[in-house]
Symmetry: C2
Subunit: 98 residues, 2 copies
Amino acid sequence: MAAKKEAKKAEENVVLVGKKPTMSYVLAAVTQFSEGNKEVQIKARGKAISRAVDVAEITRKRFVEDAKIKDITIDTEEITTEDGENINVSSITITLAK
Amino acid sequence: MAAKKEAKKAEENVVLVGKKPTMSYVLAAVTQFSEGNKEVQIKARGKAISRAVDVAEITRKRFVEDAKIKDITIDTEEITTEDGENINVSSITITLAK
């Protein structure tokens, strides 16, 4: 898990929301701000989109109260499943900024 | 169920996304546009947020190709559960416009 976390951290200012508990991602976002970043992008695909919205809301309402929602974009990405099937998945990017 | 559907339809231009199949809500959104509405708001709370993003993406990419994303807002709503407990739930409103 540690290695996976490192890989995800490679992209600066981005919190990629997956299946872990919501507060793990809130902590990641809060940490990015406390390290001096002025902007953090919270990204998710598919069913994790709801969790990404929770992460953004909890981060700005409970922890980084001077962070505002700068931008929200949604898109559709084509991904290839393990069976080699191409499926469309919705994605969201929420940009929080101080 | 029919009565519930009627109640939800009371608010014009709004598609409230819940637990039904995604395509039910896509149909509702497409119908609103075909009835002459220039704007449709797609709203959801909690886990249905992911489905609302799917609805917006499928509507604009496959059915109403001149519809653009005009605005996306997220918020936190306090709701009271059946047990009388107050909990916070994230919400999203996606505005599609021609």
